[in-house]
Amino acid sequence: MSKNSYNIYISGVGGQGIIKTSVIIGEAAMNEGLNVCMSEIHGMSQREGSVSTELRIGDFNSSIIPNNSADALLSFEPIETLRGIKKANKDTKIVFNTHPIHPSSGNSLEMNYPPVELIISNLKENFNYVYPIEGNDLANKVGNILSLNMVLLGAIVADDNFPLSKESIVSSMKNNLNSKFHELNLKAIELGFDAVKL
């Protein structure tokens, strides 16, 4: 296994830009000359379902990350962090957006979304590197909630073990997103980066 291997599990809800974010990382890895493969599950994503991708940088054939083996979990939504938690071990970097998206259920009266503070405290109790990010606030600060995925992308790039340079992530972003939004997305990446790094 090469030293540059890095497994990242990305999760959230349909419409949050999860697949685009993953593709940006994947293309950046390819451009840096690393091997990379990725798996995406998005069968019902348009209908408010859970979406997840598994991105593996390094000499892997399998695009599925074995349990307890992710170097990082990047989650766009608090309970989606928990849904993917079996991929993590004690030293996995857990970076997640604290803004909840309440699932709609058949009988909305019975819906039971756990308090976000409880999720944060439990994660901190069980894992060594937990980074809750006020992703929606940061995206709104940039000026567009649609830049949420770039905020979170910046946040994961800030992980010391992240194997790709910020520059190659930025150039991959530019190659994948409309040039009208490049400046805005750059700001979002920086804000996310600083939220973890500072």
């Binding site: 069968g43 379902g49 892997f60 695009s63 074995p66 709609s104 009266l109 039971n112």
Partner: protein, 627 residues
């Protein structure tokens, strides 16, 4: 990446591609002239990308009305000397199979590839069938790629092989290959003749009994020849081979990736034979691999097909080898594999490591994980199906029909989500178009009322002939055609009810109402499901009608691009009497219950105003149109 680069990319370029995109590049490199499909996940993106690129790539592409028609379009194009490509999800292959079986006899002149995308773990399907059986059923060659590069390469190879032997070639993917992304190095694009000509030869193309027997003989002869090639194919290879290893593994498709990684990571003394060209079965290659082993693991999704072939080889050559696979349940017989499942299976036999499946989390954390709510797919805010389901249920209540008095025969589409509360409007489901045939049986077998639900695209796909059956045989039930002006569930492809085709060209709209009237059905009503009073009244009439009653519930899907965004509703909390009709009967994702009160999420609301119509107390009102 801009998808146009799938056409403009040069030999040697590297692209980070989805499996389905790699398949498209393979088709372009192979010089495909004609491609046809009916959309179905996990193969849908192939059609979406081709629909977008066909003109640039010089390909004729169509969304056919169903997979069987797509198969016929491809078969005749190939019979005319062109390279043709058809692709579908696994259950789509069942629809196409009647014509497909004959293509094995008739053969082709230009190359023809049939890509079948299986869905182990049924992420978006009604079953986990293993379509490798079709290779054996039809006696046609099958290729099984494990990753995006192989998928692209096998497309090109498949066309060459098909043309060389004049037979269609199957490529079988799984969800993890179709929806995998990986680095693909591009090859050169082959220039092909784009206009075919059909040279008549009934003895080759008309399988009447007089000809079909000799066609079958010819097929068997060809497969014998192709078997010599599968024995030597470069993607049937032995990886990490050591002479002194006594344990082997044979694998294919996505399953190969898991066993390969585990053997490498855990430094196991296991030789692996990967089968990329798995039928006709490369028996000699397998024998050579097996003969010095004492143990072999067969790692394949879904059915034990390679395993039974291997057992036959072992029996034939009288080898003393123990086989561990699905038949002895070393690996599960159901669901997709992953690295953890394979490792656990290997370890059951080899006992080389400790696998601790219990986590070390605190009890509180385990309780928290247990408690998280599911995020089941739901009908979108503003979905027209919601009004229709609401209308059916209110009509039932007004006629004092209980839940048990009405059977809901559902079909394949977004409206299958009517299964969930509060609608509970899916009691029986078989396949695409089955709801109307199911209605025929239920209405004869029982005294219960029956309501069938079928979408516009599904109606064109396979709803018309059962409707003819229903009218002709004087059945008695209600058919609802949910015409939302798009093939919504698979991501919004056009269908024959639309005014444009799969390449974006103008096309004649086919009228569902005229088709239904042409059957002689004397109760045909088109309703706007957003008009709840009308919807309820028409369903009441339909329930009381003697004979087949067809209701066309017509309103565009909210996901259609370019539709005007409507102003969102206003919630006036002071008027809310907490009856929760809006929450409990509509179940709209934009309406939820937070902090002991009804909350409407304005970001989610699409302004359909159904909730306005259901609120008797004026707590929800239409939004300001000027805003």
């Amino acid at each position: 990446m801009n998808l146009k680069q799938l056409v403009t990319g040069k030999k040697g370029d590297k692209q980070f591609l989805l499996g389905n995109e790699a398949a498209v590049r393979g088709a372009i490199e192979a010089g495909v002239s004609i491609a046809a499909t009916y959309p179905g996940t996990p193969s849908s993106e192939i059609g979406d990308v081709l629909s977008y690129l066909a003109k640039d790539a010089g390909i004729y592409f169509e969304f056919s009305t169903n997979e069987k028609v797509a198969m016929e379009v491809a078969a005749t194009a190939a019979a005319s000397g062109l390279r043709s490509f058809t692709f579908m999800k696994h259950v789509g292959m069942n629809v196409a199979s009647d014509s497909f079986m004959s293509t094995a006899y008739t053969g082709v002149r230009g190359g023809m590839v049939v890509l079948i995308a299986d869905d182990p773990s049924a992420f978006s399907s009604q079953n986990e069938q293993d379509s490798r059986h079709y290779a054996r059923l039809a006696n046609l060659p099958i290729l099984e790629p494990s990753n995006c590069q192989e998928l692209k390469d096998m497309m090109v190879y498949g066309f060459d092989l098909s043309e060389q032997f004049g037979l269609p070639v199957i490529i079988r993917t799984t969800t993890r290959v179709s929806h995998m992304r990986g680095i693909v190095e591009l090859g050169s694009i082959k220039e092909q003749n784009r206009k075919g000509h059909f040279d008549k030869d009934p003895s080759s193309f008309v399988p009447v009994p007089a000809f079909s027997l000799s066609m079958h003989e010819r097929l068997c002869d060809k497969i014998k020849e192709i078997n010599k090639i599968s024995e030597k194919y470069r993607l049937n290879y032995i990886s990490s081979s050591k002479d002194n290893f006594k344990i082997g593994a044979i694998s294919s498709s996505s399953a190969f990736n898991y066993i390969y990684d585990i053997v490498n990571q855990d430094n196991l003394d296991i030789n692996i034979l990967k089968l990329g060209f798995s039928y006709p079965f490369p028996e000699s290659k397998v024998y050579e691999f097996l003969k010095d082993l004492d143990t072999v693991f067969i790692v394949e999704e879904v059915d034990p097909i390679i395993e039974k072939e291997v057992l036959a080889v072992i029996g034939k050559y009288n080898l003393a080898i123990t086989v561990f696979g699905k038949l002895d349940e070393t690996f599960p017989l159901v669901h997709e594999f992953n690295p953890d499942i394979i490792k656990k299976g290997l370890n059951k036999i080899l006992k080389y490591t400790e696998i601790n499946e219990k986590n070390s989390y605190s009890q509180n954390f385990n309780d928290l994980i247990e408690s998280i709510p599911n995020r089941s797919p739901v009908l979108c805010p503003g979905c027209p199906h919601r009004g229709m389901f609401y209308g059916v249920k209110r009509a039932m209540a007004k006629l004092k029909l209980k839940e048990d008095d009405v059977i809901f025969a559902s079909d394949i589409g977004c409206y299958t989500l009517g299964l969930n509360p509060p609608y509970k409007a899916a009691d029986y489901l078989l396949s695409m178009g089955s709801s109307i045939g199911d209605g025929c049986g239920f209405s004869k077998a029982t005294d219960q009322k029956v309501v069938s639900f079928i979408g516009d695209s599904t109606f064109f796909h396979s709803g018309i002939s059962p409707l003819v059956n229903a009218v002709h045989n004087k059945h008695n039930f209600v058919v609802t055609v949910l015409d939302n002006r798009i093939t919504a569930m698979t991501g919004g492809q056009p269908n024959p009810g639309m005014s444009f085709d799969g390449m974006g060209n103008p096309a004649p709209e086919i009228s569902i109402e005229k088709i239904v009237k042409a059957t002689g059905c004397n109760f045909v009503k088109t309703i706007n499901p957003m008009d709840l009073n009308e919807t309820i009244e028409i369903y009441k009439e339909a329930f009381e009608h003697d004979g087949v009653a067809v209701i066309i519930s017509k309103h565009p899907c909210v996901l259609i691009k370019g539709l005007e965004k409507k102003s969102t509703v206003e919630f006036n909390e002071n008027n809310c009497k907490k009856c929760y009709v809006c929450l409990n009967r509509l179940s709209c994702p934009a309406i939820s219950y937070k902090n002991n009160k009804v909350t409407i999420d304005k970001d989610a609301c699409n302004g359909c105003n159904l909730c306005v119509k259901t609120c008797k107390f004026g707590a929800i009102t239409e939004g300001n149109k000027e805003a």
